[in-house]
Subunit: 460 residues, 2 copies
C-alpha cells in the first residue's frame, strides 16, 4: 500500500503531449511531485514536460513504485502485468468500462485482478479519478486545479472520485486541509479496509472520513473501522432508492442504508447526512481531544443562535447537563445579572468577560464537550488569549461558532484553530459537528459508561 500512496517514483502510462487528454492532465499534475516521473507511451517520441518518453514500464531505468494508467480499459490488464514484471507495487486506473459496465466489463476486471495478484500490484480503481496527498505535492489524478487544496490532517476516503473532489474543494473553500483524498472507484483490490488501515498508520492523518455507497463486504468495513485507532466518520448515501443509476456507477448496489447505519452505530462510527457534515465532523475529531461523554455545555453571546444550536443538539441525542453549583456561582460572579446562567449560558451579547465564562463551563465536571457561539464584535474580537491552553488543560473538545465579515473572521478564527479550537461560521454546522463528537463518545464508551438505550458491540 505504501507503494501506492507513498511512492518514490511514478510512471504515467499513456502519457500524452496533447492538452485535454487524460495522459496530459495526469502528467501536468504529477510533475509537481518531488521525485522522478516517467512518461510511458510506446507510440510517442521526444519528451513531455521535459521528461523523455519511455516505451514501456519495463524499460524504465530508475526507481518507480506507482503507475498512473491513462490508457483505455482493454489495454489495462496487460499494463498491470508489465507493472508486476517491473516490480511496480501500486497502480491507479482511471478508465471506466470494468465491473460497473456489465458482464464483459466484469470479465475484464477479473483479468485485471488476476494480473495484479500475480504481480503483487495494489490497484486504485478502476473507474476512479485517483488520489492526492497535498503535503507531498502528490497529485495522482487527471483533475485540474487540485494543487490549491491545502494540506491538513483529515483523510478523505470516498467510494466516488467525484464526491471526493466535492469534499476536498469544500475543504479548500473553507481554508481547511486534507492529509489525503482518495476516490476508490470499483475497488478491484484496494477497498475501504485497505485504505482505512493505511491511513490509520499515516502520521499526517488524525481522522478518516468515508463516503459509502455500498460494498460487498460490509462486515469487513465495519470491523476495520472498529479495529483502527484513528477516529472514522461515515457518510452513508442511499437512504432512498436511486435505482440503476447507482449500480451503473461503481458497480455497487445501494439499498442497504439502514443496515449500514445500524452497523456503524454498533461499531463505533459516527454517521452524518451530507458531504459538508462529513468534512466538519472529520475536522472536529481530527483537531480535538476525544470526548469522554455526550454531555455538552453551550455558551452563547446571542440567545437566538443558542436556541437553534440547543434544539439541533437535542434532536441529535446530545445531553445538556446541569452545570455544577460551583460553575454557576463563578459565572454569576463574572457577570452579575447574566441573562441566563443555566446550560446554555447566555451572556446576552459579546463582552470582555466572555472567555472567562467559557473557561468556567469547560472546567465543569458535568461537561464533556463545549460549544460556543459568539457573533464577532469589532473592538472586542474573540477571546483567543483567555482560551489559550484551555483545550490541553481540560482535555475536552471546544468547538467555536461565529458570524462576521469574511475578511475579518477568516483571520481571527484561524487564531482560535491554532490553539486547538475548531471553528464554524453557521450555528447549525457547529451543532452538527458536536453531534458527531457526541455520537463518537456514545458509540465508543466504556461498557460501564454506556448511556441507556445505546447499543454497543460485545467486543468493544
Amino acid at each position: 500500500m505504501s507503494d501506492l500512496f507513498n511512492p518514490d517514483g511514478i510512471a504515467v502510462v499513456g502519457a500524452s503531449a496533447t492538452p485535454g487528454k487524460i495522459g496530459y492532465e495526469a502528467m501536468q499534475n504529477v510533475i509537481e511531485f518531488d521525485g522522478p516521473v516517467y512518461p510511458v507511451n510506446p507510440s510517442a517520441s521526444g519528451s513531455v514536460f521535459d521528461r523523455e518518453f519511455v516505451s514501456a514500464v519495463t524499460e524504465i531505468d530508475g526507481d518507480v513504485d506507482l503507475a498512473l494508467c491513462c490508457v483505455p480499459a482493454p489495454v489495462v490488464p496487460d499494463v498491470i502485468e508489465e507493472c508486476g514484471e517491473a516490480d511496480i507495487g501500486g497502480a491507479v486506473i482511471f478508465a471506466g468500462g470494468f465491473g460497473e459496465a456489465g458482464p464483459e466489463g466484469q470479465e475484464l476486471q477479473d483479468r485485471l485482478v488476476d494480473a495484479a495478484t500475480e504481480g503483487d500490484v495494489a490497484l486504485l480503481g478502476p473507474n476512479t479519478s485517483g488520489f492526492l496527498v497535498p503535503e507531498e505535492q502528490l497529485y495522482a489524478t487527471f483533475a485540474t486545479d487540485i494543487d490549491t487544496i491545502p494540506s491538513g490532517n483529515v483523510a478523505v476516503v470516498a467510494q466516488s472520485g467525484g464526491l471526493a473532489y466535492a469534499i476536498a474543494f469544500q475543504a479548500e473553500n473553507e481554508g481547511v486541509g486534507v492529509s489525503a483524498m482518495v476516490g476508490l472507484g470499483n475497488r478491484a483490490n484496494v477497498g475501504f479496509e485497505e485504505a482505512i488501515e493505511y491511513f490509520d498508520t499515516d502520521p499526517k492523518t488524525d481522522s478518516i472520513i468515508l463516503h459509502v455507497e455500498g460494498t460487498d463486504d460490509g462486515r469487513g468495513l465495519l470491523e476495520t473501522c472498529q479495529r483502527v485507532e484513528t477516529p472514522v466518520v461515515a457518510y452513508n448515501v442511499g437512504e432512498q432508492d436511486v435505482g440503476d443509476f447507482a449500480e451503473s456507477h461503481t458497480g455497487a448496489l445501494t439499498g442497504e442504508y439502514e443496515l449500514y447505519e445500524a452497523g456503524f452505530a454498533q461499531y463505533g462510527v459516527p454517521t452524518v447526512r451530507s458531504s459538508t457534515e462529513l468534512l466538519d465532523a472529520g475536522t472536529a475529531l481530527a483537531s480535538s481531544p476525544r470526548p469522554d461523554g455526550p454531555n455538552v455545555g453551550v455558551v452563547t453571546a446571542q440567545a437566538g443562535p443558542g436556541i437553534a444550536i440547543t434544539d439541533r443538539l437535542k434532536a441529535a441525542g446530545a445531553t445538556l447537563p446541569s452545570l455544577t453549583e460551583e460553575t454557576q456561582e463563578i459565572v454569576e460572579e463574572i457577570l452579575p445579572g447574566i441573562t441566563f446562567s443555566a446550560n446554555p449560558v447566555d451572556t446576552g451579547r459579546p463582552m470582555p468577560e466572555f472567555g472567562e465564562v467559557v473557561d468556567a463551563v469547560a472546567r465543569d465536571e458535568n461537561v464533556d464537550i463545549v460549544l460556543v457561539y459568539e457573533l464577532y464584535e469589532g473592538g472586542l474580537g474573540y477571546p483567543t488569549d483567555d482560551l489559550e491552553g484551555l483545550v490541553d488543560d481540560v482535555d475536552k473538545p471546544i468547538v467555536f461558532a461565529s458570524g462576521g465579515p469574511r475578511e475579518i473572521i477568516t483571520e481571527e478564527l484561524a487564531e482560535l484553530e491554532a490553539i486547538g479550537i475548531p471553528t464554524f461560521t453557521a450555528p447549525e454546522r457547529a451543532a452538527d459537528a458536536v453531534s458527531a463528537l457526541v455520537q463518537y463518545a456514545k458509540r465508543n464508551a466504556e461498557p460501564d459508561a454506556v448511556v441507556a438505550g445505546e447499543e454497543v458491540s460485545a467486543d468493544d
Copy 2:
C-alpha cells in the same frame, strides 16, 4: 411602517461620544445613511461624529421619521411618548428588560405599547439588535462591521436579532446579498405580519425568509404568508424542548413546532431546518422563476455527487420524472455512449457538450426544475454561454452546484448567477434549495394539479 424601514431622517436617542456604548455604536452605523441624523441626549453637549447634540426629540429642527432608542428600559415609554409628540412614526428599541423579563417587564412593555398607540409609533423591539437596509446604507443597529453585508433581493425577518445577523453574515461570507435584515425581538407592535406585509411591497425584495421561535398569533402569521405575493420560506426552531431558555429570550413559548410545520405546509410556505438552508432557499426563490411543479431533472458530470443529490431530493419528496423520448434521443445524439441518459443524466465527466445536455433537459416538458452538478475543470470552465437566456426561455428554475478552488469558482459562478442561475458549492446544499422549490410548487399548486397526499388550504 415606511417611517420605520424607509425614513428620511433619523434621531439617535441616548447618543454617546464614548466608544463601546450602544449610543456610540448606533451613531457610528447610522451616519453612513444618506439623510439627516440627530444625536439626542439631554445631558450631553457639543457634538458626536460632527453632529450637534439635541436635548430631546421634540427639539429637533428637521425631518425625522425614525428614532433609535439607546436608553435603558425604564426611560423608553417616555421617549416613545415624545416621539409621538414629535410626529416620529418609527422607533427601534434595543433595551431588554420588557416582556421577556417577567411581570414587571411586561408592565413596562404595556406602558410602552400604550404610548406607541397614542402617538402612532411603529416599534421594532424591544430587545432587538435592530435592522439594516444595505441598499440605502441604513444600519439601524449597534452591531459592528455590518456595512460589509451586500445588498440583494432577500429580506431576512428573524424573531431573534442574533440569528438575523448569523444569517446576514453567512450571506456576506458567500457573496450573497439581502434587501433588508430585521430582528423583531419582543414584537411589541411590529410583528411578523407587519414586517412581511411591508417587505411584500418593497421593490428590492423578491423573497422573504423567516426565523420563527414562536408567536402568540400563529394564524395571523400564516394567513399573511398566504396573502402576500412574494414567496416566503420559514425556519421554525423549537422541535425539541429547550425549556425556559427560549422563554427568557423573546418572551415567546416554543413547543408548538409540529403545529407550525403543519400550518406552513397548509398555507403554502416551504420550511427548512437550518439558517443556511433558509438563506439558500430564499436565494433560490428570489432569483428564479416560480416552479410550476415538483418534477426535477438532474444533470450531473460526476455520478457520486449526482447520487447524493438524488438521494436527498427523493428523501425531501421531490419527483424525478422520466425524460421524454425526444429528450433522451437528443442527449444520446449529443453524447453517443453517454454514461447514463435517464434522469439523472450523467455525462461521466465535464465536457464541451455539457451545456447542450442541460439545455435539452431544461426544455423537457416533464421537467419543472433543473438541478445541475459539475465539478470545475480548468480549460473548460462552466457552460455559461450555452445557458445564457435559457432560464427566461423555459421559465423554470435552473440551480447549479459545483466544486473547485475558491479563487476561481467565485468569479465564474457569479457569471452563472448573472444569467439567473443560483449557484451552490456543496451538492446537498443545492439539493436542499431545490427541495424548497419543490415544496413551494407543491404547496402552491392549483387544486387540479395537487400531488396526491399533499394538503392544501381550502381557500388556496
